[in-house]
């Protein structure tokens, strides 16, 4: 729709006053994803952070392959070591993808080149998951290298692997990335997001457990309100949470993931970009 907003009798009435935008197609989502992915590694800090994480995961698994007890040198254990290390840092990488637009004020450019902010959010989420996938695949390969190293201290190259560990790795990665992304959208500030995320993953479950022991009646309530605790049954070998455990996942997931995500998204889409 191009209603003429010019006042009648304008001297230079005619061509030149409306922009013909039909010749230029919109920015495809794939290009936005590519740009967002590029932003993760195109700063010195981002590049070394990524490389540092990979290095740390490698170190953990190689040490495990060389020095763990025989029983700890199974493919399964080494995969969980790699996955666990990644689990701390992938969410941080994903959060920085969102918060740096505010902390570094690049949002001014990002959201003028693509004013439909929801598309940027989708592109960032896809880029975040792409990096996570790379991390998970790296962990899978690396755990195999660890097993190959295990004979050094007398290990027997135990390749046994069930579905459960891989499923757990993927599932925990997806959940942690989503929680981190929601938190990042909500606070839009790098240090606050990182501190907040580690409080949530590292401090909160412990505090909840202690409080559960100390205060009678609280223990049964915790899985309903603490998302980390509620996720426990998801990562059990048989992954068969009871009906009540599913309900706890839904309730605590709503509190810690769904509500922050919706709130954060709403704020991000409407907030002034300064």
């Amino acid at each position: 729709m191009s209603t003429d907003t010019r006042t009648p009798g304008h001297p230079a009435d005619g061509a030149g006053y409306t922009l013909d935008v039909s010749a230029v197609p919109p920015v495809p989502l794939a290009r936005l994803v590519e740009v967002e992915a590029r932003k993760v590694v195109d700063t010195r800090a981002g590049f070394w952070f990524g490389l540092g994480v990979l290095g740390l995961v490698t170190l953990a698994v190689v040490l495990g392959g060389l020095f763990f007890e025989d029983t700890g040198q199974t493919y399964e254990t080494l995969l969980s070591v790699a996955g666990g290390t990644l689990g701390y840092f992938l969410p941080v990488l994903v959060m920085l993808l969102v918060t740096s637009e505010w902390s570094q004020r690049t949002g001014l450019s990002t959201f003028t080149l693509e004013p439909r902010r929801s598309r940027i959010v989708v592109a960032k989420l896809i880029a975040g998951f792409a990096f996570s996938a790379v991390g998970v695949i790296y962990a899978v390969v690396l755990a195999a290298v660890g097993v190959l190293l295990s004979p050094v201290n007398g290990g027997g190259m135990d390749w046994s692997l069930g579905v459960a560990p891989v499923r757990s790795l993927v599932l925990s990665t997806v959940i942690s990335v989503l929680v981190a992304f929601a938190l990042a959208m909500l606070v839009r500030n790098s240090p606050a997001a990182i501190v907040g995320y580690f409080l949530y993953t590292l401090v909160l479950p412990g505090v909840a457990a202690v409080l559960g022991e100390l205060i009678s009646g609280l223990k049964s309530v915790i899985p309903w309100i603490e998302f980390n605790t509620a996720q426990g049954p998801l990562f059990a070998d048989d992954m068969s949470p009871t009906g009540e455990q599913w309900a706890q996942l839904v309730v605590s997931g709503t509190i810690w993931l769904v509500i922050p995500f919706v709130l954060g998204l709403t704020r991000l889409l409407r907030a002034e970009v300064k």
Binding site: S2, T3, D4, T5, R6, A12, G16, Y17, T18, L19, V21, V24, P25, P26, V27, R31, L32, E34, V35, R38, K39, D42, T43, R44, A45, G46, S100, Q104, R105, T106, G107, L108, S109, F111, T112, L113, E114, P115, R116, R270, E272, V273
Partner: protein
């Protein structure tokens, strides 16, 4: 090309932009002038969709900015040259934008050359850029998509005199080729040499707009500065002719509320010898200060004692 109609933006009880309307024509540079905090930046931010307006509309070429499918290809925007990741190189900052817009990497090199950033400078990270280099990079950023419209907030900020001249020539050339330019400044002298049109804003409201001649004609009265060998006779003649004569800034001279021609005739009639006779109308600068006087911080202070 740019059409702003009855635009307002309030923050709680504070009105940052108050019923602002103006337009920018293709082929012309429009200077958006006002003291700090007058509402220039807020208006520009609303124009490009970063801040939602409380009321009114802002369109570019008949479109809301947010409705442009690939806005970088139509509108070049520079709001804050420092709002880039300090850890990125200049070239990388342009490359990200070029990739988003779907432009080849040669375009990045072209723009670096246009704004005079050397290969060595392009490889440096923004953290190590001077303010002037940041501005040049920002201009390159705005020009990258070969847009028909440029929106620049304080682009001359931090440029040295040679840089300001370069920017002036660049914007002039751009407008001559049919481009539309809206540039803001709080410094009159940065704008008056390059702008064809001026929009003066103070405390959120437009206080004057038009080209230089229109502004002067509308807002500053006719006046002359005159002195004569016989000041008393001159004064008497002027008063007899119904004019008001007051001492001018220079001792011995009078400021009179009529044109120099009229005084010349009067002097001939009364056989007076004039030693000075010139146009005493206020300059653009006085006009600017006067128009925005009640919106300046200094003005606010004076007002508080009244």
């Amino acid at each position: 090309m740019i059409e702003i109609r009855h635009l307002s933006r309030t923050y709680g009880g504070f009105t940052a932009v108050d019923d602002v309307s103006f337009r920018c024509e293709p082929g012309r540079v429009t200077g958006f002038l006002g003291p700090n905090g007058a509402g220039k930046t807020t208006t520009m931010r609303i124009l490009v969709g970063l801040t939602p307006p409380s009321a009114g509309t802002a369109t570019i070429g008949g479109h809301r900015y947010a409705d442009l499918p690939n806005p970088g290809r139509h509108v070049g925007v520079l709001l804050d040259a420092g709002a880039q990741h300090v850890g990125r190189t200049g070239r990388e900052i342009l490359t990200l934008a070029a990739r988003t817009m779907g432009l080849p990497s040669e375009r990045v090199e072209e723009m670096l050359a246009t704004v005079g950033l050397t290969d060595d400078e392009a490889k440096r990270r923004l953290r190590h850029y001077s303010l002037g280099m940041k501005q040049r990079l920002g201009i390159a950023y705005a020009l990258l998509g070969d847009p028909q419209v440029l929106i620049l907030d304080e682009p001359a900020n931090g440029l040295d005199p040679a840089g300001i001249r370069w920017m002036r020539d660049l914007l002039r050339g751009y407008a001559r080729r049919g481009g539309t330019v809206l540039l803001s400044s709080h410094l009159l002298h940065e704008v008056e040499l390059v702008a064809d049109e001026m929009v003066v804003i103070g405390r959120g409201r437009i206080v004057a707009q038009g080209d230089r001649a229109t502004l002067m004609a509308q807002h500053s009265g006719v006046a002359s500065i005159v002195s004569a060998t016989d000041p008393t006779a001159l004064q008497q003649a002027l008063v007899a002719a119904g004019r008001t004569a007051v001492p001018a800034e220079t001792p011995g001279s009078l400021r009179v509320d009529c044109s120099p021609v009229e005084i010349g005739r009067l002097a001939l009639e009364h056989r007076l010898v004039l030693t000075e006779l010139r146009d005493g109308a206020a300059g653009l600068e006085e006009l600017f200060l006067e128009l925005t006087a009640d919106t300046q911080r200094e003005g606010v202070l004076e007002g508080a004692t009244a």
